[in-house]
């Protein structure tokens, strides 16, 4: 176990699984208890070793006396993840005893996330964080539009909490391919509007006083179509003043590009949380490169999503 000095901005920690709940369609909410986790901001992420602490690596093969080994361990029966997996923080609660409870919501897409899905309550997991630069609350914009697609929604939950504390009125737009892929619980007494009017239809955002518009590609829930389109009825309605709105978005590349264009057309500040494949998550391997606008011949330079992001001002990005 490592206990960081209070001034350290990040560290390696032994976290304990407090809950690991299936949300359906291979989505899970993992709640971790971490003693002494440093201050963090929405938009930041943690890099998680996928497996029970001490058992992530290959286990020695037992050779019985005079016999042959039975290779049933994960090393030979399946593929093990090597590198950590990065996950945005979906929420944070600071308990009185100094423990910090962190939520991440993930989708099982490979061997690493499959291992995470198997963790039982009480298991110890190695976590590095908090990492990256998070969202900045735009002080002179009293209204926030939070736009998320799929697993881009969870960091917006953390942001919704921070906005609530800052007295900003937030409205969320949560999109997914289909109803069951939405990593949120729908309040059965408050179905999402099909016309795009925000209501307290999702439990997690409702708990943060944030009305939500739900959009699904296949129309199985809420508005039919992409979430960036679902943003427009509200954004362009007469009782929303463009000069009061800031946009914060997270999700697949085409979605955030579309949101950036919508915000730019209305001169709204817009921050985007990006995703890139990473190895170290800490700015040393330089794998997670993204192009930003820069002076010079090419008009762009590389920055790192893990260190200079994941949150970028939409106007700073160099779109190809």
């Amino acid at each position: 176990m490592s206990s960081p000095a209070p001034t350290r901005s990040k560290g390696a920690f032994a976290a304990r699984v407090l809950a690991n709940r299936s949300l359906g369609l291979d989505h899970y909410r993992l709640r971790l208890g971490v003693a002494g986790f440093p201050r963090s901001q929405p938009g930041q992420f943690i890099n998680v070793r996928c497996g029970v602490a001490g058992q992530e690596g290959p286990q020695p093969l037992e050779w019985p006396e005079g016999g042959l080994p039975r290779p049933t361990g994960p090393e030979l029966a399946g593929v093990q993840p090597l590198l950590r997996r990065p996950f945005s923080l979906a929420g944070r609660v600071d308990k009185d005893d100094g423990t910090v409870e962190l939520d991440i919501i993930h989708h099982v897409v490979g061997v690493g996330t499959a291992r995470l899905a198997e963790l039982g309550v009480g298991a110890e997991v190695s976590v590095i964080g908090p990492l990256g630069r998070g969202f900045t609350v735009v002080a002179d914009r009293p209204v926030a539009a939070l736009v998320g697609g799929g697993v881009g929604v969870p960091p917006l939950l953390y942001l919704a909490e921070t906005l609530q504390d800052a007295g900003v009125r937030a409205v969320a737009f949560a999109g997914a391919r289909t109803a069951r892929a939405l990593p949120l619980r729908i309040d059965p007494s408050e179905p999402p509007s099909q016309a795009g009017w925000p209501t307290l239809c999702t439990a997690e955002f409702a708990a943060r006083h944030t009305p939500t518009v739900v959009a699904t590609d296949d129309g199985s829930l809420g508005v039919t179509g992409f979430v960036d389109k679902a943003l427009l009825p509200w954004l362009d309605s007469p009782n929303v003043r463009a000069g009061e709105v800031a946009v914060y978005a997270c999700g697949p590349a085409p979605m955030i590009k579309a949101v950036a264009d919508i915000a730019a057309a209305r001169a709204m500040p817009c921050q985007l949380a990006l995703e890139r494949h990473m190895a170290c998550g800490m700015g040393t391997c330089q794998g997670c490169a993204v192009k930003v606008k820069a002076a010079g011949e090419t008009g762009w330079a590389f920055q790192l999503v893990c260190k200079d992001g994941p949150v970028f001002d939409a106007n700073d990005l160099y779109w190809e």
Binding site: P4, R8, S9, K10, G11, A12, R49, G57, P58, V79, Q80, P81, L82, L83, R84, S126, I128, R276, H277, M278, A279, C280, G281, M282, G283, T284, C285, Q286, G287, C288, A289, V290, A301, F302
Partner: protein, 313 residues
């Protein structure tokens, strides 16, 4: 039982290291990036990211991909360049308190020599690690390290510039016979050898039917390469380094103390850890302590007793 009972110190061409653990170039940044995770002062030595004469932006994304028990990287030697390294990174290196070796890359011999000459004036730098896995643009892009004559030529040129710094030559494993390249660079004056660099490799996205990396190929590192790396250290030690008295820094997939000990027994005087730092940089401490435990268990007072001890009675 404490460390004081076993002596972990080693010497690389006159540079004394408190223990045999180093970092692999390209996996630990320029200086203090891992300071929040592990106490870098406990290392034997620190090896920086490759520096080139001018800054390099690096390759397009995607640059990294995990493969089974390993990963590919095609970062493209992205680095801040010599001037920014001197201005911004050297002051941080001075605070590390351990010997620093600077990995140097380039496009032609003159680049390397220019950087080496400038680094002679930097006190905190104790040695150059020559990255010869770079294409020689004056020879049509053949990598320096794939041809014995070229490898010898660049070694001799940089050695001439190193009056204070020691010269470590980092060998590429993408060759027919790494011992032949080792012999050429030792002949040309290398003070030490580090091996192995990454193996050229590829990963394919079978749904899009395209290579996953923008660069198409990348260097394979991690646990998957360790047995090949151990073999190559053994080969170079027996055929070249032992008789020449040139120390080897062994690397390639080291994650646990067991792995490091394989390299030491095969003939490495020191070991470097790379990919495993991405997983948990604290492994450096665990590996060091694990080596000490092994020495105690086998009744060795000093690590030098196991260097090249493979096959010995």
């Amino acid at each position: 039982m404490t460390h004081d009972e076993v002596n972990l110190s080693v010497e690389i061409a006159g540079v004394k290291l408190a223990n045999p653990l180093m970092t692999c170039s390209g996996t630990c940044g320029y200086a203090t990036e891992y300071a929040d995770i592990v106490d870098l002062r406990q290392l034997g030595a620190f090896v920086t990211k490759s520096i080139t004469a001018g800054p390099r932006v690096g390759n397009d994304y995607p640059r990294v991909v995990e493969t089974r028990a390993g990963m590919l990287n095609a970062i493209g030697l992205a680095n801040v360049g010599l001037e920014a390294f001197l201005d911004e990174k050297v002051p941080l290196l001075e605070s590390l308190g351990v010997p620093v070796f600077v990995n140097v890359a380039g496009r032609e011999i003159a680049d390397y020599v220019a950087v080496a000459e400038r680094l002679e004036e930097v006190d905190v730098v104790r040695g150059i690690e020559l990255n010869i896995s770079c294409p020689n643009v004056k020879a049509g892009g053949i990598q320096f390290g794939t041809d014995g004559a070229m490898a010898g030529e660049i070694t001799a040129a940089v050695k001439a510039a190193c009056r204070r710094n020691i010269l470590i030559v980092k060998l590429s494993p993408n060759v027919t016979d790494i011992a032949a390249i080792a012999a050429a660079v030792v002949e040309a004056g290398a003070d030490a050898l580090s091996l192995v660099n990454t193996f050229t490799a590829m990963a394919i996205d079978i749904e899009t039917r395209r290579p996953i990396l923008a660069n198409r190929t990348g260097g394979l590192s991690g646990p998957a390469i360790r047995p090949i790396a151990v073999h190559m250290v053994d080969r170079v030690y027996r055929q070249v380094a032992r008789d020449a008295g040139v120390p080897i820094i062994g690397m390639g997939g080291i994650q646990y103390a067991h792995d490091a000990i394989e390299f030491l027994l095969a003939g490495a005087t020191a070991v470097a850890v790379g990919t495993a730092l991405f997983v948990d940089a604290r492994c450096l401490i665990e590996i060091r302590d694990g080596i000490a435990d092994y020495l105690r268990r086998h009744g060795h007072a000093s690590i030098t007793e196991i260097i090249g001890a493979l096959d010995r009675e």
